[in-house]
């Protein structure tokens, strides 16, 4: 399709009222001198599309590997800093049938989002873990100074996958209304999907694995940190659902404590307003997350949160909104399956966790110094010697309808079931596993009625059968 120049001009002059455009990008056949208006006239780089995108536009990304490297540029392959509108979101999605892959190498992020009303859909972000060595990462991670100056690490060992990052935005322009959907984020040396100083963020139907191995900042698979509340409207502001999250783990000590920390599957980190506070008693953990200089946010980047107070972080509103963590499968991570730290108002429902904590020994579902956390209808299988849950200075924990194979009394509900959930097939690569429940499993048709979830991890309608099932999967 060709659009005459006058029409393009008109589009530019009256954007708000005009229908959304499609912009095309192809690493294989595109050219940044094109206008991007069709697949034949695709841009070559994501960055070019980010320059011209306007509210309401959809960017369709074709096959190819996206990893533009510019000397001296160390922030991200793709930086999304524009704000859409409630009626005009900006969408970045794989072109139909395409499998575009973003491969950040020597940058801090694959995709960095500082704008609002943005949807990412169907993108692969793949990091360098396969070509790094732990010994090199440890050497870099233990280096605190270079040339007499503080050294924040080589981004090569600290790259995050998809970051939502409000650290440098003024208080009234923090990122909000972001949806990250159907994305595959793997092999990042740093965190998979870290979300910092943001609100109204949904991460759903994503596959997040093999991240956080090489970074010095105690990353995790999916993280929210210092949520920055956009408004007081009811309903969930943070939604993390239907994701498969595995083998995220830290192997390099956290720069703040000199010890291994975190590497959780899913972490909701620090909504409380204390400028500093106790760190995790199990391994001095937490106070997350992303790296430093190029990332633009000293709050999240600075190794010690108290060492370098960030003006942009001042005045964070009290977090009164709610988060939902539902229908996720989180397994074989080095930290918890699902961890909340100094965080309030979370519903953790219908998740399945399996054999987490192999690096730092955290519990499968681990609330720590948290307030108002609900755990319902989860299936929880700790590794040998591991623990179902923990309870350190929490307030207002509600726990019921959970299934776990070993007796424990840290949190108990009258409808808990202590029994083997009987998974169909366990494998360390969750793409090869089948964590649905065998016929006769105690998790079938036995979910408690509270906080019912309309679908399961695969999108299947709940309930199927005489009642809804516990865990992330609904069985016939």
């Amino acid at each position: 399709m060709k659009i005459p120049v006058p029409i393009l001009l008109a589009l530019g002059l009256s954007l708000a009222s005009l229908p959304a455009r499609e912009l095309h990008v192809s690493a294989l056949t595109g050219n940044d001198a094109n206008d991007g208006s069709s697949s034949d006239r695709a841009f070559a780089t994501l960055r070019k599309a980010a320059e011209v995108i306007e509210p309401g536009d959809t960017v369709l990304i074709g096959d190819g590997v996206y990893s533009h490297e510019e000397p001296g540029y160390d922030t991200a392959v793709l930086h999304l800093n524009k704000h859409g509108r409630p009626d005009a979101w900006m969408t970045w999605k794989a072109a139909p049938g395409a499998r575009p892959e973003i491969r950040p190498a020597n940058v801090w992020h694959g995709i960095r989002i500082t704008g609002s009303y943005i949807i990412l859909d169907g993108l692969h972000v793949t990091g360098l873990n396969d070509s790094l060595t732990l010994i090199d990462a440890m050497t870099d991670g233990l280096t605190r100074e270079k040339d007499g100056k503080p050294y924040a690490g080589n981004p090569r060992f600290n790259t995050n996958g998809i970051s939502v990052e409000g650290g440098k935005n003024p208080p009234d322009q923090k990122p909000h209304h972001i949806i990250i959907r159907n994305c595959v984020v793997s092999k990042m040396p740093g965190g998979g999907i870290p979300i910092i100083q943001a609100d109204y963020v949904t991460v759903e139907d994503c596959t997040v694995f093999d991240n956080a191995w090489h970074m010095r900042y105690a990353g995790s698979g999916i993280t929210t940190f210092h949520n920055w509340q956009h408004d007081d409207k009811p309903g969930y502001h943070i939604v993390i659902q239907r994701n498969r999250v595995w083998n995220n783990r830290t192997l390099v000590p956290w720069v703040s404590t000199g010890k291994l920390s975190d590497g959780n599957g899913i972490l909701l980190d620090v909504t409380d307003l204390a400028r500093s506070g106790a760190s995790n008693p199990n391994a001095d953990a937490s106070v997350s997350a992303t790296p430093a200089p190029g990332s633009g946010s000293s709050a999240v980047a600075t190794p010690s949160p108290t060492a370098n107070p960030n003006p942009a972080a001042a005045g964070r509103p009290k977090w009164t909104a709610r988060a939902l963590v539902a229908n996720n499968l989180s397994a074989f991570n080095g930290g918890s399956g699902i961890h909340t730290f100094r965080t309030a108002h979370v519903d953790i429902v219908n998740n399945t966790t399996y054999w987490n904590g192999s690096v730092v020994g955290y519990d499968e579902l681990f609330p720590n110094r948290s307030v108002d956390v609900v755990f319902l209808n989860n299936i929880i299988v700790p590794r040998p010697g591991g623990r179902v849950t923990g309870n350190n200075q929490n307030k207002d924990i509600r726990w019921d309808g959970n299934v776990y194979p070993i007796e424990q009394n840290v949190h108990r509900g009258p409808n808990d079931i202590v029994d083997d959930p009987q998974f169909l097939s366990i494998a360390r690569d969750l793409r090869d596993a089948d964590f649905r429940l065998q016929p006769g499993s105690p998790g079938r048709n036995s979910a408690v009625a509270e906080l019912p979830q309309p679908v399961d991890l695969t999108g299947k309608t709940r309930p199927a059968g005489s009642g809804s099932d516990r865990g992330a999967f609904e069985q016939d």
Partner: protein, 463 residues
Amino acid sequence: MPIHTILCPARSPLALALVIALSLPATLLARELHVSALAGDDTNDGASIERAFATLKKAASVVQPGDTVLIGDGIYTDSDPALHFGSVLTISTSGRPDAWITWRARPGHRPEIRPDCWNGIVVNASYQLIEGLAITGQNDSLTLIDARADATRPEGAPRFNMNGLIIDGRQLPPDQKPHHVIVRNCVVSKCSGGGIVALETDYVTIEDCLVFDNAWYARYANSGISSIENWAHDEAPGYHFIIQRNHVWNNRSLVPWMVTGKLSDGNGIILDVSDPKRQGPTNPNADAAVAAAAAPVANAEEIAPKPDRPHWKNRSLVANNVSAFNGGSGIHTFRTSHVDIVNNTTYHNGSVVGYEELFSNQCRDVVMTHNVIVPRPGGRVTSNHGNTDVHWDFNLYPIKQDTLAGPNDVIADPQFVSVRRDLREGDFRLQPGGPGNPSALSPWNRILADLPLGTGFGALAHP
């Protein structure tokens, strides 16, 4: 079976041999002894399934040359700290050339040894065949943070340093070092220390084993399969060490080696220090590997000054192994002489310490041919540091390199059937029509049967 009660007090192998030689012809002595963790009892005589012993230790205390110990289903965790730092089974009674001692899974059974001590099996004796046993360590229930903390303490806890199977001559006088030991068809996994370790031994065969997920937590820079400081029993021709047809993967060291304070080794297979010098350079790539590192050493002052090892003139064969996803090399030789590395397949090794796939370092007389070698992204096929007399040819690898190169090397994607991180689910055979396939290659490469040495490429014939 009264005979074992007669012989029982004879603790020394020499005395035993004497008694046996004086009493009965060897052929009359071969017995079957039965062990069952599920149904046995150590007050039984072990003479039948119904009268099985309960523990391996009991069988070890009565076994005689020529005996076969048949081990039934069950989990064997019994340990005795008094026996060589603790093991589930310590074998200290030697067989004879005409009367080996066999330790074998009862037909149809899959006994599993789960040590909670320094070692699963310790072999301090000769003429032993160990077959069909599974040794499973505790890696699943350990955490890396605890292991790294333990490694900073003066004495390591066994749970973080446990070897699967160790053939260990270090405490024995020069004329009693273990020799003629075959480890066959065993599965050694999840041990915090080394998988299968041969220390100061000779005539050792390790074949058809699965060795994976070992060495993660030890302070001793362990590997999957190691031979260290070989101690020559004689200089008869033929291979003295054979490591063949094993699948070896995801062995890696995540805790710094106590000698250097840095991560080291975690190889799939390492032949370590046949060079008799007591001291020598360490690995330039990561200060790796000066022997003795592979297993816990008792208080140094308890060990008398050691006689010099005999000069190692014998030959080793490393053939038809698949070694993949290990933290160190796929196959590493360090300060070692006289090794043939033939028809192996290695894939994506070196993720922890960055060693090369096939890595000879300060070695002499090493032959590397007919291997398929695929480095991880950014990894390297091989290295050549301080070696003399290295022969390299007929190897297949996907990226051009000239560190070591032969006129008949093939640079191409080998086209494996299916690559998986769990080698039990992968299929590293070569696709039909691929570059390693005999139909596509010159006559020297015709595969006549599965895996005859020096033919084809890699460890596995094409489908």
